[in-house]
């Protein structure tokens, strides 16, 4: 019924992932499993609004040449359809490391609680994606740049209710984002076919935007002459109050704005929280930092709850929208209980808050500093 073994809700995924929900399937990755610089496919988090399409292989090994992608919408004169093999052969192929993070990553910390999957820190990853530029494909479909405002997607996933007339999710991005170099129609993750749960065989990838913009099991792209109004573009979904509100406020739909760039954020991936270390050894720490636009300019760590901060080593990104790697060697003044906190700052001077950022009804955009517990003996 689910198109894969119901005994294994996470086919092809690492056993260390945390299953948040099995219908629809949602799972996140513990921080220490995100240690590799390029996220392995089996460790990429899973976020579904609907049901995975049936009749697709649970652990794909080949890319289906005849999978069809239709380009339509008000700003396309005549709908055009490309097969997956036409996409691969007709347009230049590009490979980028692109960070995808769920808009609701960190939701579990909000209070009053926000409903939805209670993501902690693991709805993020940065694999290497291969595909064609969305821009090249839209041009080949003769889209009208004077009319185009937004692109929207449709995929082959089905609504939880089973109603074939209901669309589980149909989101998208402003045309300016769609036309960027790194905006891909992708068929490969780390040189292999996409995992089924991450959109096999074809999906969009927009680094730096909420991952829900990057449609999976992609079958149609519409170039709209208005802000796309598909399922979960309006109401309270993936939107936050246009003006800050007090925690627990009821906010009307008209006062909510669509999330665009994700905020600056970082994650300590090494060591795993709970490390007991010898004082004489010190501690090597490491992790990743990312932001939705520009670049992360610095990462600092604190072992005294923010009273003082020390700069980490920070690498430049492999390409725009790739996460960056930081590291440091930490010395502790005396034995005892410590928390190591990491704080990233982007090139515009925006830093991660130590407390939760502004409360919002659905619990999006929690980019508060990550921390791990360490005991020095």
């Amino acid at each position: 019924m689910l198109g894969f073994d119901p005994e294994d809700p996470l086919p092809g995924k690492h056993p260390g992932l945390t299953l948040l929900n099995d219908r629809p399937v949602n799972a996140e990755t513990p921080p220490h499993l995100l240690e590799p610089k390029v996220t392995p496919a089996d460790r990429m988090f899973v976020r579904n609004n609907g049901l995975v399409p049936r009749d697709l292989p649970p652990t794909p090994t080949t890319i289906p040449p005849d999978w069809a992608l239709r380009i339509a919408g008000e700003a396309v004169p005549e709908p055009v359809t490309f097969t997956l093999s036409e996409l691969r052969e007709r347009f230049p192929n590009y490979t980028y490391q692109l960070t995808l993070e769920c808009g609701g990553n960190g939701r579990s910390e909000f209070n009053p609680p926000a409903r939805g999957n209670q993501w902690s820190t693991g709805a993020v990853g940065c694999p290497e994606w291969t595909g064609v530029r969305l821009r090249d494909v839209l041009k080949a479909a003769n889209y009208d740049s004077s009319k185009a405002v937004y692109i929207g997607y449709y995929g082959k996933d089905t609504h939880l209710s089973g109603d074939p007339d209901k669309v589980p999710i149909s989101r998208g991005v402003p045309i300016e984002k769609a036309l960027e170099d790194e905006s891909l129609i992708a068929w490969a993750m780390n040189d292999e076919p996409l995992p089924l749960l991450n959109g096999y065989p074809l999906r969009l990838v927009f680094g730096g935007y909420p991952a829900s913009c990057s449609g999976k099991w992609l079958s149609e792209i519409v170039v709209r002459d208005r802000v796309h109004d598909g399922e979960k573009m309006g109401g309270q979904s993936y939107r936050v109050p246009c003006e800050p509100v007090a925690p627990g406020t009821t906010v009307e739909d008209k006062d909510m704005c669509i999330i665009l760039d994700m905020p600056v954020k970082s994650l300590l991936t090494s060591p795993r929280t709970g490390a007991i270390v010898e004082a004489a050894d010190g501690l090597s720490i490491g992790g990743h930092a990312w932001c939705g636009s520009s670049e992360v300019a610095r990462v600092d760590y604190s072992i005294d709850f923010g009273a003082s901060w020390t700069a980490c080593q920070l690498n430049r990104p492999a390409n725009r929208f790739a996460w960056q790697h930081f590291s440091a060697k930490v010395d502790f003044p005396v034995a005892g209980y410590y928390e190591v906190w990491a704080r990233a700052t982007d090139a515009d001077g925006n830093a991660q808050p130590m407390v939760l950022p502004g409360w919002n009804p659905r619990g999006y955009l929690n980019n508060a500093c990550h921390r791990i517990a360490v005991k020095v003996v």
Partner: protein
């Protein structure tokens, strides 16, 4: 007698819902409410679902789990008003049927057993599994 009448009522609703919505029942076992009997209970949890096996949990099992898994309930916390808004949203957007007289007892259950915890903006780290760094990695 009350429960029997209620069960028949739910069955009626479910039959109507099944006509409109083809997948919100388990195809192997039929409509959920007829299955929503007490199963094995361990440590106060219903072993089928992980729901706290107190109060009117069978109503939740029967109505809510037809469409989504119990984890969508058990991982969330909300006040009665919050749970009520979620049910409204599911009815407006997601095809949940009118719960009729079941609505109030379902809300009683959710607001009692899945109520929000009071906590600060960054509570102390919890459930730390300590390990010797050298031995571990």
């Amino acid at each position: 007698m009350g429960f029997r009448a209620r069960a028949i009522g739910i069955l009626g609703l479910l039959t109507m819902a099944a006509l409109a919505v083809t997948r919100c029942t388990d195809e192997d076992t039929g409509p959920q409410p007829t299955e929503a009997k007490a199963s094995r209970i361990v440590d106060g949890l219903d072993m089928d679902t992980g729901l706290i096996a107190e109060g009117e949990y069978l109503l939740v099992k029967g109505n809510c789990l037809a469409c989504h898994s119990a984890k969508l309930v058990t991982q969330n916390r909300a006040t009665r008003e919050g749970w009520s808004q979620m049910i409204d949203w599911m009815q407006e957007k997601q095809g949940l049927w009118d719960l009729g007289p079941q609505r109030e007892p379902i809300l009683d259950y959710l607001a009692t057993y899945y109520a929000p915890d009071e906590s600060g903006r960054r509570p102390p780290l919890e459930n730390i599994e300590w390990y010797k760094l050298d031995a571990d990695e």
